[in-house]
Each structure stands twice: as C-alpha cells, then as structure tokens.
C-alpha cells in the first residue's frame, strides 16, 4: 500500500482529539473526517484542520472514502456504530471498554475477523514499556509458575459529589468504576494470564456516585488449563484523592520470586540471581528509563503512539494485533461476572 491510509474519527472527545493528533502525524496515515455532535468541535476542525466534519457516524461513513475508523464514543453508542462500520468494511480501532456486554463484543469480534478487518481495542497498558517488560519476565519463567497476583488501579477521578448528570453516572451509558477503570486492571490480568474462569467475593461500593460503583474489589480464579491453580485479587478505587494520575499496580508471586510493577517502574525479588537479565538475588529496581522504547511522535505517552502506530501497521503490513475485539470481549465477560457476583451477594444479604 503506497497511498496514505484514510482514517476517520468518531467521537472527538478527549481520546478522540488525542488519537487524531497521533494518527495524523504518521507518515502513511491521515485523518480525513471527523464525526462529533458538538458544533463547536466540528466547526473548529473544519475551519482550521480542514477535514470533513459530520454530526454523526452515518454522515462520516457516507461522506468520506475511508480505510479505517477510530471509535472514541461512550460505549453505549458502539453497537450501532460498529454495525455500520462492519457493513462499510472498514478497519476499526475502538476505545475501551469497547462494548457494555460480551454478547455484543462476541458478535463484532467474529464479524470483523470473518470480514478480514483489523480490529483493536485501546487498552493502552498493553503498550506500556514497564508492563510489556514484566510480561516478558513472567513468560520467560523468571519467577517460576505464577501462583498469586494483585491487580489494582487508583485515581482521584470522582472525588466529590458529581450529581446525576453526564454519561459517567449510569451503567447504561458505560459509566462506573468497572467499565471505566477496573476494565484496565482486568485487561492487565488478561494480558498476563488470559481470562479467569470465575470470580468470587465481589464487593462494589459507592463513595460519591449515586447509581454506579466507585470501588471494586474481588477475587479471581483459574481452575483449568495451563494456569489452573492461579488466583488473584482485584482492587480498584477511583475516589482516592491521593492519586493525581490514574495508576495501575500489578504484583505477581511465583515460587522463584515476585514482581511489583506499575506504569513507571518495577521491583523484582528473586530467590536466585538471573544472569540472562542481569538481575541479582533479592531485590532489583528497574526504572522506566532503563526500558523505554522510542516512538516517532510523542503526545501523551509512548504507549499511546505505539498502540495507534501498531493499528496502522496491522492494516498496512498485517502486523498481529495485540488487543483484539476478542481480547476485549474476554474482559467484558469478567465484568459481567463481577456484576453478577456482587448482585448475588446483595440478594443473599437481603434474604
């Protein structure tokens, strides 16, 4: 393919305008159209960036000749949008959590695969240099067979009474700490170990929100397959004002040692030294400055560029996709298990 890829943005909110910048900076891709209901946003983009602007995806898909779309809308809108995108036979990058239920997710995973279309979801931690390094360590058996893990995520996103307004305030729109935050912590688990078989002891709590959870905690179990016997915990809190930026913390324990990793650093404890990785017995500290990769263009973080450039490479060169619709659907199944487990606990309490 020699002509630049023509990409459209559906939903020019915070993620949409970031992805626009990154994808447009690619040597072999250009944003040629944007759909957003905000007149302010489309007027500005039409006037200054001189791209085709539309009030919704229908106009965009009709008005522009595209190779792919970046879908950055609240997830409740995504089934209708992706039906049209699939019909138009376009490659699709969709922001997480992708869908609100696994049945929809499954339908699109199968549909896009069958149509031979690249499908990717924006679980950006899979492109973070620290998490990819930690996964390499685990896959290479650095700490032996993983036995326990903790996946945690904290932020000060909801730290005051937010009322009932906005798409964040209901599950129907994709609001709540499970869809918006725990999805990242669940995806890290899936990225490292695949999806768990079941969850238990789930507790969803409100701090400020009226209709959705602000805190999520649960246990996850692997009963069968190569990971049989592995178990771990999930703790996500988006009402923790002590965090200025959203932070994922991931810990894995194995017989040979322990890994504690977040977006910026990693601590590795080893029972025995590992010469191949130049790691000593006991504690080792690895900083992001030890492992960072370079990207051709930087906006919000290396991983944001890396994931979109990978999407473009998948379309142009058939590069394997690191986070497919199917991967995101597996996460949705876990989210459904969490909702069901908490509901069962509440029902049990009431009985």
């Amino acid at each position: 393919m020699t002509s630049p890829l023509r990409l459209g943005i559906i939903g020019a909110g915070r993620m949409g305008i970031t992805h626009y910048s990154i994808a447009n900076a690619h040597d072999h891709a250009a944003i040629t159209g944007v759909a957003d209901p905000s007149k302010l946003v489309t007027t500005m983009l039409g006037k200054y960036a001189k791209v085709g602007t539309y009030k919704d995806y229908k106009g965009l898909l009709k008005g522009e000749e595209l190779d792919g779309v970046l879908v950055c809308t609240p997830p409740a809108f995504n089934p209708d949008i992706l039906d049209a995108v699939l019909e138009a036979k376009l490659h699709a990058f969709v922001e997480k959590p992708f869908m609100l239920n696994s049945a929809d997710g499954d339908r699109f995973a199968k549909g896009f695969d069958a149509a031979g279309l690249v499908n990717q979801v924006g679980y950006v931690n899979r492109w973070n240099d620290m998490f990819t390094k930690a996964k390499t360590f685990v896959d290479e058996g650095l700490i032996g067979e993983p036995l326990r893990f903790r996946s945690e995520m904290f932020s000060g996103t909801i730290i005051r009474d937010v009322g009932e307004a906005g798409w964040r305030s209901t599950h129907a729109n994709g609001g709540g700490a499970i869809y918006e935050m725990a999805s990242h912590a669940i995806d890290l688990i899936g990225y490292f170990f695949g999806a768990p078989d079941r969850v238990g002891g789930t507790s969803l709590s409100k701090v400020y929100s009226k209709q959705v959870e602000d805190i999520v905690s649960s246990s996850l179990f692997y009963d069968n397959g190569p990971r049989g016997g592995l178990a771990g915990t999930l703790y996500v809190n988006w009402s923790d004002a002590s965090y200025r930026k959203p932070t994922n913390k991931f810990e894995i324990f194995g017989k040979g040692g322990k890994i504690q990793v977040d977006q910026h650093g990693m601590k590795v404890f080893l029972a025995e030294a590992n010469e191949a990785h130049d790691l000593k017995q006991g504690w080792n500290q690895i900083y992001i400055t030890d492992v960072f990769s370079s990207v051709p263009f930087y906006v919000r973080g290396i991983e944001y560029t890396a994931q979109l450039f990978d999407f473009i490479a998948s379309i142009r060169e058939g590069k394997p996709v690191r986070c497919t619709f199917a991967d995101a659907t597996a996460n949705l199944r876990v989210m459904e298990q969490l909702f069901a487990d908490d509901a069962a606990r509440v029902a049990g309490d009431a009985a």
């Binding site: 915070r14 305008i17 302010l40 200054y48 005051r160 200025r244 900083y287 400055t289």
Partner: protein, 296 residues
C-alpha cells in the same frame, strides 16, 4: 526581540510540584515540605544565591502565591527574568473529568463571570460558526497570564501537552497566533515546550515562524526525545540558536544520568539554555557549576 538572549540557566519548578514516580515515600515527603510557601521560597533563595537569574514557573494553583512573594520584594527579586509556562494541564484535565469536554469549555470561558470579556464573547447570541478561535485562545492565554503581572517576562512557554497535540494536527494558525500574541502583548519571546523537537522545528521553518524558544527534553539516553537521540543531535548541530534558541529540560532523565555525565553531554551540544530543578543547596550549587557558560 529587543530583550537580548535568554538566560543560560533557568530554575524550574519540578522539584516542588512534579510527580515523583520513583518513590511514593519521597513524593509524599516532598508534598509535605513544599506545602509551606516559606520552604519553597527558601529553595528559590538558594538558587538565586548560586547565581540563577531566570525562573520558569508553571501556572499551577500555587503559582500566584509564589509570584506574590517575588513581587513583594523588588529589591531582592526585581532583577529576575521570568519564564512562565502555561497552562496548568492538570486543572483542565480535572475539569474535563468532572464536567466533560463541553462543560469544561464553558467553565473555562465563564470562569470570570458572564460579564467578563470572555463571558461576553461566548454568550449574547454569538453563533458558534463565527466563533473566533484565535481571539478565544488569546483570552485564555491572558487569563493564565494574570498570575505573572508586573514580573519581567523573558519567555512565555506553551506546555508540551498542548504544543505536541496541536503539532499532530499540522495546522500553522494556532502557532502563528500564539507567537504573535506573546510578542505583542507581553513583549516576550514565545516559547514552545515539546517532546518532538526535530518535528516541531521542521514545522516552524515550514510555517515561517522564527524567534521562538524551543524547550525540549535533552539527555544522552534519549528519554522523552522523539524520534531519538541521533535525530536531536543532528538537528541541534545545524540549528541557528539566534532564530530558535533551545532550552534543554530533563537533562538528568529522571535521575537516570548522573549530573557530571549529564552536563558533560549538554555542554558539548549547541544548546542555548538549560532549565533544571533541585531542592538542596548542594545540588543547586553543583548543577550551576556544571553548566558551562553559567554566571560565576
């Protein structure tokens, strides 16, 4: 520019407000120490004693209090040159979190009330289609710049999150408008902070924008330098420092490069200025002495 070259050494604010990813405990300790304005001013006094004459300060929620202290003592601080950076990205990110994009935009525009210049501009039946984005941007800049009134401004920097985001859109107008506004209204150099120095400089040349200070991470390991060290070195070697003065930041790469090694590298490059942050008198003194061309 009538105001002469930029300072070789500029003292930053990351040591007060930056996020320390390396250690939660250190971050907490620092937050507690610099919650007190007196402790911040004591560090500035050490820097000034070490010969620093340029101050870079982001328009964060502590900046006004700090600027008030500097304004209050003209005899002691009147000689300092100021290098503000705007906006405070966290403030807008939090607003978007709370209210969404449209709500955040409204809050920004009406922050000074519906009767303010901004308020009048966006209310009163003005059609969105005729909304003048350039005028709007100037007003937002002016709103941020109130913090720095009556200080001697040398450069007004736009934060990298905005610069690099706009850079991807490949549109000249906002860059042209920002630079003109800073020159005209503040009599200062426009400055652009970036993590993409070679790309930004290429675009500025293409767009015919000159006399702009470019502030970028520059360190020997290539941390936060896109696309990479080799490209930075090549561009710096051919750069005309009178048209595009370069200010190096993140010279220690978050502590990955020891100071002696770091400034040995920087001193060999065609870099006009260095912004650094440190909080102990020893580290401040050492850094100043390691940067070549620094005031004795």
């Amino acid at each position: 520019m009538s105001k002469g070259p930029i300072d070789r050494i500029v003292f930053g604010d990351n040591q007060f407000f930056g996020i320390n990813h390396m250690s939660q405990d250190k971050a907490q300790e620092r937050a507690e120490r610099f919650a007190k304005l007196d402790n911040i001013m004591a560090v500035y006094d050490h820097a000034i004693e070490a010969g620093v004459e340029g101050i870079m300060l982001n328009s964060n929620d502590r900046a006004k209090g700090i600027c008030d202290r500097f304004r209050a003592d003209k005899a002691k601080y009147g000689h300092l040159k100021w290098y503000p950076s705007i906006p405070y990205p966290h403030k807008y990110a939090a607003m978007v979190n709370d209210k969404g994009m449209v709500g955040a935009a409204q809050e920004m525009l009406f922050a000074k009330g519906a009767k303010s210049a901004l308020g009048k501009m966006v209310s009163g039946g003005m059609a969105v289609a005729t909304l003048d984005a350039v005028k709007l941007m100037k007003m937002l800049v002016d709103q941020e710049m109130e913090i720095y009134h009556d200080l001697d401004l040398k450069v007004v920097f736009l934060q990298n999150i905005i610069v690099d985001l706009m850079l991807g859109y490949d549109v000249a107008e906002p860059f042209v408008a920002y630079c003109q506004h800073i020159r005209k209204k503040y009599g200062a150099y426009p400055g652009l902070i970036t993590q993409n120095l070679p790309f930004l400089r290429r675009k500025l040349i293409e767009w015919g924008i000159e006399d702009v200070v470019i502030c970028a991470s520059i360190n020997k390991i290539g941390y936060l330098m896109s696309p990479g060290v080799a490209e930075y070195e090549a561009v710096l070697a051919e750069n005309d420092g009178s048209k595009y003065p370069v200010m190096a930041m993140s010279t220690l790469a978050s502590g990955a490069v020891p100071p002696v090694e770091a400034y040995d590298y920087i001193n060999k490059l065609n870099v006009q200025s260095v912004v650094f942050g440190a909080s102990s008198p020893g580290n401040i003194q050492q850094t100043v002495s390691l940067i070549e061309g620094a005031p004795a």
